[in-house]
Amino acid sequence: MNSDPSKPMVELRAVSKRYGDLLAVRDVSLTVRRGEFLTLLGPSGCGKTTLLRMLAGFETPDAGCVLIDAEDVTALPPNRRDVNQVFQSYALFPHLTVEKNIAFGLQMKRLPKAEIAAKVRHAIDLVALQGKEAAMPATLSGGQKQRVALARAIVCEPKVLLLDEPLSALDAKLRGQMQIELKNLQRTLGITFVFVTHAQDEALTMSDRIAVLHRGAIEQLGTADEIYHRPKTRFVAEFIGQANMMTASVRNREGADALLAIGGEFTLRAHVAAIPATAQSVTISIRAEKIQICGDGAAAENSFAAEIEDVLFRGEMLQLTVRTPDGLRFAVVIANTGGARKPHQVGNRVRCVIHRSDIVVVDS
């Protein structure tokens, strides 16, 4: 057994995959740590599934190599990789009971019958499917199928568990619940998870680290906090959450301050350290919920007057569009605490404040 804890569990080295004219995965290098919950996040068609299938062994990379637990598995077929997958469609075997579905992988490993029975029992307990052992997959609900698929994969105690949008077929409520259960399960078992999703809330909730994919390449790799608060590229800033993207010219730098001009007269003060030393013009991202709306507060830094142009009721949130006298528009999201008083109405004049550390410079 090769399980040096300092070595990464999964390593992709400059992996590329081409389908005809389409470069589905381009030169991706990525390491996944032992016991880590890593999420591949990106819009549909960005190459998440292709990347996952190369880890599972269903696709062979055209270039680069795949290492699992420091072993080069690039040429190994899926049945000889110590990796299991939870499929988006669950892919439960329709002719086998829940119990036999879960036992399948262990039977393939030719474990003794008693050991299989014990492990299956344990897996069923883990995913809370007691009483469903003899049920056929067709009689289960979506959530139960999901649990069987999960149990069938984890019972094999793989080095890495691959999950391809496993929650996408569930309704919103169940999805939220499964997110928490999945994360707990991963902590309990200590298995390395590579999770694929296009839903940012799933990624942000569960992941230790997130790799944001765009057109087959990794745009940014980092913790949920880093990805959210320090997006490196315009794509990441726009894909996750709601951001105001604008081009600013760097007016002057004095001490720790930099003065950014947007449009004509509108200016914001930012940390000079956040801005590339020689840049004349930068793209900045300001998250919609970081813009505060207050009654007066004229004295605060980066405060400006604006008029509410549009209000969208979003339940716990209000989504506002505000417009400065110079004609700049900002999207603002605030907690909907007003209740029936409705303090924010179209036409109201408000003051907005942007904290300087919430101004993030991204590559454009």
Binding site: A56, G57, F58, P77, P78, N79, R80, V83, N84, Q85, F87, Q88, S89, A91, L92, F93, P94, H95, F104, G105, M108, K109, R152, A153, C156
Partner: protein
């Protein structure tokens, strides 16, 4: 619309009722046309008269005669044997063929798929003559090989008989299995095989333990269709079967040429009943599989 709509409203409904009734009659007529010969055949198989036209009372004499008719029973055994072996071979060839066409991207894939159906589409006489020519052409070669392999004294000869009949039947029976299985495979979740591989099954084990059970309804219904077709086939069989492998339809046909005989009604009635049962079973299984 005014209040006077009530009386006129029945008009279109009356028209529809008429159309419905006409359609009903038409369907009944078509069914009668299809099933009347079979019904008459079965009825007359119990007729005491030697002549089909007059009813002289109920008897099972023709069934007893049929069971005592040795050539007929031998032909029945031949037919069942040939159809049985044909079905097994058709299932193996049809299922693996469908799986290969389904899983791999061949060049000229469409052409291969079309070629499979040629034996069904070609007129049976032509298929029969073609196969006969083939068998006569290869027979000396094969027999030469057998002689050199087992010595000139060996009894095994390649001649028209069971082997040639079965080969001929397989050529037009396996496509039935192939189509049924192919349709089923097209509906199958592609992740099914991948899930098996992912759990450590080799491709062969995945096929046997996961794919085959998933497509089993299609295999069974294809097999029943193949069996029925092999049992019923006359023309191709006429060309390629030898004296000892004469099938039941051929035996019946030979008898008919000697003159209609109530015993033939009896054997035909049995045949119809057996075929009907198989068709119903095949249809049931196909539906369960959905």
């Amino acid at each position: 619309m005014n209040d006077a709509t009530t009386p006129t409203r029945t008009r279109p409904f009356f028209g529809m009722a008429l159309v419905n009734r006409l359609c009903g009659w038409w369907t009944a007529l078509v069914l009668a046309f299809l099933y009347l010969p079979l019904a008459l055949l079965i009825a007359y198989s119990f007729n005491a008269s030697r002549l089909n036209v007059v009813w002289e009372g109920f008897t099972v004499r023709w069934y007893r005669e049929m069971l005592a008719n040795e050539p007929l029973i031998r032909a029945l055994k031949n037919s069942v044997l040939i159809a049985g072996v044909t079905t097994i071979l058709s299932v193996v060839i049809g299922t693996t063929g469908a799986w290969l066409l389904h899983s791999y991207r061949y060049r000229f894939r469409r052409l291969w798929e079309a070629l499979v159906f040629v034996p069904i589409a070609v007129p049976e006489v032509i298929m029969g003559i073609g196969l006969l020519i083939l068998f006569t052409a290869v027979a000396p070669g094969i027999n030469g090989f057998l002689d050199s392999a087992f010595g000139a004294a060996n009894e095994t000869r390649f001649a028209l008989g069971f082997v040639t009949t079965i080969i001929a039947h397989v050529t037009f029976c396996f496509p039935l299995v192939l189509v049924a299985v192919q349709a089923r495979l097209a509906d199958l979740d592609p992740a099914m095989e991948e899930a098996a591989l992912d759990l450590g099954a080799t491709p062969l084990v995945a096929f046997w333990r996961v794919i085959v059970p998933c497509i089993m309804p299609a295999i069974i219904s294809g097999a029943l269709m193949a069996f029925t077709l092999s049992m019923d086939e006359v023309l191709v069989t006429y060309f390629v079967c030898g004296p000892e492998s004469k099938t039941l339809p051929l035996e019946i046909y030979d008898n008919v040429r000697k003159g209609l005989n109530p015993m033939l009604n009896a054997i035909s009635a049995v045949f119809v009943a057996a075929t009907a049962i198989l068709v119903v079973i095949a249809e049931r299984i196909r539906r369960i599989g959905r």
